[in-house]
């Protein structure tokens, strides 16, 4: 069952939808899961992903709330007109943390919940991680395609070469050049300086860097320090995180390069605190139907492990 769930934030009304549990587990804690918006995409998210997740969660006996922050979706308030990449930078700095805390206030009080889990995709994931680190009431996190690097250029659309940030992505770009090796036109373009040399040289240098990765200990200047500090803070209390990434998502490659390989490997931390699951063939939004199904299955499986119980 789905209910309209509007609540106040800074004297303005935020619009949300609550899915009530379809089954109950006697003796188990009442757990509510809040789903974040992903940047400007309102509470339903890409291809209604949040609706699908919320309905799946209710079938597993959880409460689920998805809501629109100020100025987004059906909520009151206005966003400044000059949006764009700045908005993403603001999200990565915690722009929607206050609204998420207000959502926790509402959700816990209205449904007398024992535990709160936060779930988000992309910018929504970073919002939830920062909130989780700042709000003691958050028990667990589910982070989908979380970006570890800050957005590249605040005002202007980045050039293609600037979007190539990992050896994996560089490898993909080079594979497109591989197919042109036997093309006379491509060679003509190369020899007459019409090829995109900057893209090519950046891809080659980045791709071969992976073979010397151990010697490359320099921190990426775009690493979001707030991501790292929030992660450390959250797991230091023994709280658990489920990361789910897509195999073909550039954010995943950055996650692996800048966070897993560089930071997590050196962390003296039992694997039980966090789990990382990669979905094959998935892009940033897990759009293929088989990826959607696996995503829902992974979330359910993890939650069943964390909250065992007997259905009523």
């Amino acid at each position: 069952m789905e209910k309209i769930a509007n609540f106040k934030f800074e004297n303005q009304e935020l619009v949300g939808i609550v899915n009530l549990p379809e089954i109950s587990f006697p003796g188990r804690d009442k757990v509510g899961i809040i789903l974040s918006v992903s940047a400007l995409k309102y509470r339903v998210c890409s291809y209604r992903l949040n609706v699908k997740i919320a309905r799946s969660l209710s079938q597993e006996g959880f409460f689920a709330l998805r809501f629109d922050p100020l100025g987004i979706g059906d909520s009151q308030g206005n966003l400044p007109s000059a949006l764009g990449l700045n908005h993403f930078l603001e999200i990565q700095a915690g722009r929607y943390v206050k609204e998420t805390k207000a959502a926790i206030d509402f959700f816990k009080k209205e449904y007398k919940l024992d535990q709160i889990i936060l779930l988000g995709l992309c910018g929504g994931a970073i919002t939830m991680l920062i909130t989780g680190a700042k709000d003691q009431r958050v028990n667990k996190l589910i982070l989908l395609g979380v970006p570890v690097l800050l957005e590249n250029i605040p005002e202007v659309k980045p050039e293609f070469k600037d979007t190539i940030t990992t050896p994996e992505y560089a490898g993909q770009v080079l594979s497109t050049y591989k197919s042109k090796l036997l093309s006379p036109q491509a060679w003509l373009r190369l020899l007459t300086f019409k090829s995109e040399y900057q893209t090519l040289t950046k891809s080659v240098s980045l791709y071969f860097r992976k073979f010397f990765k151990k010697n490359n200990s320099k921190k990426n200047p775009r690493l979001n320090d707030l991501f790292l500090s929030s992660f450390k803070s959250f797991i230091s209390e023994g709280k658990k995180i489920l990361f789910i990434n897509g195999e073909f998502d550039p954010a995943t490659w950055e996650f692996k390069d800048e966070f897993e390989d560089r930071y997590l490997k050196n962390l003296k931390n039992p694997d039980s605190t966090y789990q990382i699951h990669m979905i094959k063939k998935a892009n940033h939004i897990f759009s293929l139907s088989e990826c959607q199904a696996e995503l829902l299955d992974q979330i359910s499986t993890w939650l069943r492990q964390e909250y065992p119980g007997v259905k009523k």
Binding site: A39, L40, S46, Y47, G73, N283, F286, S287
Partner: protein
């Protein structure tokens, strides 16, 4: 005042809706028809903002989600062109029953405009029609959608594994076509492919306003002009150019709207409804 709720369509399924009610009860109302696929997400806030502007100008407004879309019941792949047209009809009945509205405009964007136009052909469904960048031919639209699938294949597999023809053949074998996470079924494909707003004379007797989004072009698109002429056989119709950028595309570089679209539409509604 804004009221959010669920109401039932003619099949008993729950649809999500919002009524924007002006301070003084109004006999004039606007029903908003949203587009499909990711365009729905991209235009959502624009439609909310315009609904609020209409409401502050004394009009009642109903925004709702078709079955399988937005917050409504069902899955996208369960819905068809037919179910969406029925939902518009149910929403109109609900709107009239819930408010004192007796003069009604249908306003749609992109394929929502196409649905509004098709709905208006059903006698008595609307007094005025406002079409923001309507999709005129279903086949052209489907080609655009299939192109998105092909692009995704190149990203994932580095090459096209299934051509456009393969995808359409697959539909006939019961497979679906994934477009940015949405599944196109054979039934939806068949129904949309038959849509051609220019094919026949119009039954709709009300007034029509059409918007062309072309910041650089000084000419009207011939096909939109043709649609305007079809509407003008029964009543007055206008085709207007909008200086605002198309707002249904990628949200990463979200362009702020100027007053052009909202201002011109509101002026027209005030004069014609």
């Amino acid at each position: 005042m804004e009221e959010h709720f669920y109401f039932k369509n003619s099949s008993g399924k729950e649809l999500f809706g919002v009524i924007h009610s002006p301070e003084k009860p109004s006999t004039k109302g606007v029903l908003i028809c949203h587009p499909l696929f990711e365009e729905k997400l991209h235009v959502h806030r624009v439609l909310v903002d315009f609904s609020r502007l209409l409401c502050s100008s004394g009009f009642s407004v109903l925004c709702f989600d078709y079955y399988g879309d937005g917050d409504s019941q069902g899955e996208f792949e369960e819905a068809t062109l037919e179910t969406r047209l029925n939902d518009i009809s149910s929403a109109l009945d609900f709107f009239r029953g819930k408010t004192s509205v007796d003069r009604l405009a249908l306003l749609g964007v992109r394929f929502g405009a196409t649905l509004a136009s098709l709905s208006a052909e059903k006698k008595g469904l609307s007094d005025a029609l406002i079409l923001w960048a309507p999709i005129l031919k279903g086949n052209d639209y489907l080609l655009q959608l299939l192109r998105m699938n092909l692009t995704h294949q190149v990203v994932v597999y580095k090459k096209v594994l299934y051509t456009r023809e393969d995808l359409i053949k697959g539909l006939k074998e019961g497979k679906k076509i994934n477009v940015e996470g949405y599944e196109i079924t054979r039934k939806l494909h068949e129904q949309v492919s038959k849509v051609d707003l220019l094919a026949e004379d119009k039954i709709f007797k009300g007034k029509a306003l059409l918007f062309q989004f072309s910041q650089n072009s000084t000419d009207f698109e011939p096909e939109l002009e043709k649609l305007r002429i079809l509407y003008s056989k029964n009543n007055t119709s206008e085709l207007i150019k909008c200086a605002d950028p198309p707002f249904w595309g990628d949200m990463k570089y979200y362009p702020p709207l100027t007053d052009d679209l909202f201002g011109k539409t509101l002026t027209w509604i005030k004069a014609n409804l």
